[in-house]
Symmetry: C2
Subunit: 768 residues, 2 copies
Amino acid sequence: MATLNDIGVAAAINILTAFAFFLAFAMLRIQPVNDRVYFPKWYIKGLRSSPLVNGSAFGSKFVNLDLRSYTRFLNWMPAALQMPEPELIDHAGLDSAVYLRIYLLGLKIFGPIALIAFTVTIPVNWSNNTLEHSGLTYSDIDKISISNIPIGSHKFWTHLVLAYCFTFWTCYVLKREYEIVAAMRLHFLASDQRRPDQFTVLVRNVPPYPDESVTDLVQHFFLVNHPHHYLSHQLVYNANKLSELVNEKKKIQNWLDFYQNKYKRNPLKRPSLKTGFLGLWGNRVDAIDFYTSIVERLSRDICGEREKVNSNTKSIMPAAFVSFKTRWGAAVCAQTQQSRNPTTWLTEWAPEPRDVYWENLAIPFVFLTIRRLIAAVAFFFLTFFFMIPIAIVQSLANIESIEKALPFLKPIIEVKFIKSFIQGFLPGIALKIFLLLLPTILMMMSKFEGFISLSALERRSASRYYFFQFINVFLGSIITGTAFQQLNHFIHQSTSQIPKTIGVSIPMKATFFITYIMVDGWAGVAGEILRLKPLIIYHLKNSFLVKTEKDREEAMDPGTVGFNTGEPQIQLYFLLGLVYAVVTPILLPFITVFFALAYVVYRHQIINVYHQEYESAAAFWPDVHVRVVAALIVSQLLLMGLLSTKEASQSTPLLITLPVLTICFHRFCKGRYEPAFVRYPLQEAMMKDTLERAKEANLNLKGFLQNAYIHPVFKSADGSDSESESEWERSPALVATKRTSKRFTPMPSKDGGSLLSLDQVNDECLKP
Amino acid sequence: MATLNDIGVAAAINILTAFAFFLAFAMLRIQPVNDRVYFPKWYIKGLRSSPLVNGSAFGSKFVNLDLRSYTRFLNWMPAALQMPEPELIDHAGLDSAVYLRIYLLGLKIFGPIALIAFTVTIPVNWSNNTLEHSGLTYSDIDKISISNIPIGSHKFWTHLVLAYCFTFWTCYVLKREYEIVAAMRLHFLASDQRRPDQFTVLVRNVPPYPDESVTDLVQHFFLVNHPHHYLSHQLVYNANKLSELVNEKKKIQNWLDFYQNKYKRNPLKRPSLKTGFLGLWGNRVDAIDFYTSIVERLSRDICGEREKVNSNTKSIMPAAFVSFKTRWGAAVCAQTQQSRNPTTWLTEWAPEPRDVYWENLAIPFVFLTIRRLIAAVAFFFLTFFFMIPIAIVQSLANIESIEKALPFLKPIIEVKFIKSFIQGFLPGIALKIFLLLLPTILMMMSKFEGFISLSALERRSASRYYFFQFINVFLGSIITGTAFQQLNHFIHQSTSQIPKTIGVSIPMKATFFITYIMVDGWAGVAGEILRLKPLIIYHLKNSFLVKTEKDREEAMDPGTVGFNTGEPQIQLYFLLGLVYAVVTPILLPFITVFFALAYVVYRHQIINVYHQEYESAAAFWPDVHVRVVAALIVSQLLLMGLLSTKEASQSTPLLITLPVLTICFHRFCKGRYEPAFVRYPLQEAMMKDTLERAKEANLNLKGFLQNAYIHPVFKSADGSDSESESEWERSPALVATKRTSKRFTPMPSKDGGSLLSLDQVNDECLKP
């Protein structure tokens, strides 16, 4: 077992690693050539143009020669914290701002808890000699944990009282935060300018009717049943094949650009390639001609397919985006049942146009239930049996089989050093690859289930990912066994035994989790800011593909916050913190440091890097809330199990009431705050409608909504790009920009010439 | 253990008992003097007038002298089955008609199952000698149960296949039935004539506002947020004290009538009474004067209280019945969220005026959550610890303490026969009294929880009663232990062990449950038709209280179907049938007989006796459905436990899929049919609105709704009676009557003079 010394060494190593990452980031960041990697958001917002254009000396275009700027290598941290929250919401959207509040929530919960736990439990735990007399091996960590208290001692009352205090504090913070976020959401929706999704409802499962087309059917139905409110509707087409073709063309176009660039740089030799598998064999042809012909063929196919989609009634799905004259009408339609048969004419709020996941709109509604069942079963097997295929791969991927398959590698593999390296490395690699792919697999599952908005997809993936981590990382590390072994174990064990089994092993695993937090939390977060992968890819693309400024813009990959992977990771820390708060409080400072560090890093990234794909107005908060509450209940049950093995059974009734109270708290919060995230109150809708009517009496709402919900492949003329964003999409960004640019100057301006002047910004804004 | 012979004897006894009840019923029923006890529904509908008025000979007014009618003593059975269902709905309401369908559901499920189980399992079970060779004592019942199959035999596949067949059959019948009932409900709501609850929404938790009264607040809110639909509203007053006074006055009035009648019969002696406790001591006063003075005082109090309620703003609750111009407007308001704060301006469909439980409207909304929590905890303790107070009472109520308390009884008690009788009887009596009071206790709990309609109260009581019976009758009989002992047992047992423990004891308890079914089901149902308690009470009232025809009408106590006690009883039979279908199919015929008998008896009672208190349009069906599904899942789990002890573990995966499939089935039904019971589709609402507008263009809806939701104590002039029913209440009964009277003649017409002639009926109907 690890001593405090070991932990100190591990901490030092990880702090140094994190520091190294920060240092590297500080160096790379101020090089103008990396500017688009580290500040893409400003480029996307049009607030910063390429340093290649504005720079003066040639060298300073690529390398920063201002030595002074190297001395202030950590000054991005205060800068990241400077932007006030309302401005952050304007700049990066409510989703991002509320996502940051999850880290703040962690700080608010664990800061005071760490303080109290240290001042109270550590002296109480330390003042015993149980472990010294037990003859067991133990470490300093164990001396300050609950293990050091003798069986049946009255000192357990301290832990009991603390468990109550921590529960009340956590609930208090959770409630306040839910309240604030709900208010922020409502305020955002109220102050937000006109958006098409406020007026639009998605209708699914329009029942088939032989004599009428879908469009007539929808129009008649809503004209009859919402006579004063119906405005227009937009049919949903199954354009999946079309968008496949468009994507295909884009890919080929990239290759064509690559070879054209190559030819331009070296005009003496026309590039050529082999047409076979991966360019390894086949006929050698002229690359530019080859790809040009493919692009032409695809363009023809796209035109044909587009015509087919437009003319063929089979590509019209029995679904439609129905728009209403008022927000009130849309709110009514989205919240009520339309027809006698509750599985037809299903209405729900339309997601924001950016948020729509178009592929899934083409899934017939009847299959959704079946798909959901299949996905649930698949997820169950994935969680509990994922080790089986990995074990098979591991047994296949040994040195002997590699030597057999690729005999020419034999002399290299036989070198002793390499052999042992491969032998140590290979078994782990299959697992590592699986874990890296897991979020993608889960996202595919969610897509299969048929959610129709990106935000819903991410939320579902996040909750599955959390469950997987809970079973396989948290419980798996504590009980050390695969999930299936655990399951088997639990089924054959008495119900009251389960918390005991886990409870007992918890204090013993504290050092493992401390190391985990430092590697995954500290060094991992510091690595996030470095953006190594986007950096490499950007420079590769920049060298080979970029021809115009627009290409360069596309080459930047700002990425997103990544709710489906980021949030479950944070939740794991909430779980660890709450479980260990009473048991081994030494874990808490590590978690607090993680939350603080991650808050600063992600705030910086959200301001400067990540580009928001959609705006769900913090629709994910109920999920965040419920998972923290679940972690709280788990921690209470495990503490109960632990104390019952310590023969402090007189405390059991008091411990049982804790989860009951927590569940009541959850139900209260659900009733009080959740409706703000799923419904739209009529009063609010009416208020906004009235205000709008007063302000803009002659508003052409129909024109405003006309093209909002057209499938993106139909929007642009050639279907290759989202250039022709409709009016509503561009305008909010401009408004936000205006406000931001006046009050907040991003730091890179100090590097000279890389930011537009204020006049330029204003000029930009005045353009239509 | 009981042999087939024992069962035969028990069956004979119970059949004889049931027969005796039917015979007694047949005798009592045709006596004109009992007419109001056995046909009160016809009196209430105005289709039958008192035989005392119309009879010719004096004797025939009280005793039926037509000997022929005694020979046809079972002819009420075909008569009860004659009335077709649509007419039954007109006559007794949809609730009653659908309630009868629960019995039909039982017949539909268990008829075919019994047939298959008999032809398949009994030969399979019988053809083994396991029990003969086991050396255990066993009975013939066990020989044809699953116990007779050797451990690890392949014959268990038969049972497995049967379990699948039975599950599919049950689900199929359930789905069809759900479909039919949902259609019936929608048809009823659509074809039903105008009712105030279709236009009215109950708004609760109107937020306090210092400058405006509640009535202005409500009006402004709905005028602003539902401008085209709001019509009017009716405030809710806290008139609980007033209705208490009114009830008090009614009770005292009864006593006054009693003494006045007494005095009239014996004018020589003015009746007197003692004013002390129970009339046992105190001053002797003149009874008529005494009660007259109390009635006068109460009348004054009532007037004062009424004025207070009307004038004092504190008696106005922050709730209101808001009426809309159209059904569409009401449907929208009931299904949407009104205000930003989801705990204010809460809207829900108003219950039917008859269905409103006025007392609970006065409960402030904030207390409801707390009340619900308290009720849940109380119910938990009631279910699992109810034996504790009963055990205490039992230990106190022994012969010695009776002798001590009431020494004068000693000589009687000491008689040996009486002593042994009391000793055998006393311990049970406390339990019996508790079980008799249980529905009342549960109903009080539901009232405490604050449900605002009688139908909701009954539904909640029914589900609690069912849970109590499941734990204490079903599990309690199988594991033989109090619920708390079971709970303790289960907590300390492995999860996989629980179904095994129960599963193993199931076949052994078959004979017990057969006896239970015969006593509770056969004889009990036969006893229901006799109506012994109402019979006695009616004759007591008739002798002492009745002065006018109106009094006599009040003296009849038609009773109601009693969903809160009746439905859980039926559900217990569903549970028993499904659990034993595969294990010991000999139980099935007994259950089938119960369902058939109960169907006929309750159909008779519903046609002739029970008076519907409210019409919820079969809102209880989802509860019925979900409880049968739960019984199905319990039966599957127990079969799994049983088979796993029989070492037929290869069947486990197949058995696990059964509950999973059943849960999927339940979710499907919930999605497909439940909305018909909780929501009102806008399409339907719009259709009815349009039709109505076309038919009655100049409808005065405001007048129609004006007094619909006034507290009943305000309706009548003196607040003592519900005589002044508003227009809408009387009209539907008349319509139903007209149609019924033409096509259906209730049998008692044969007894001569006890039914109005058709002309008289029509005359009656033409009266306003």
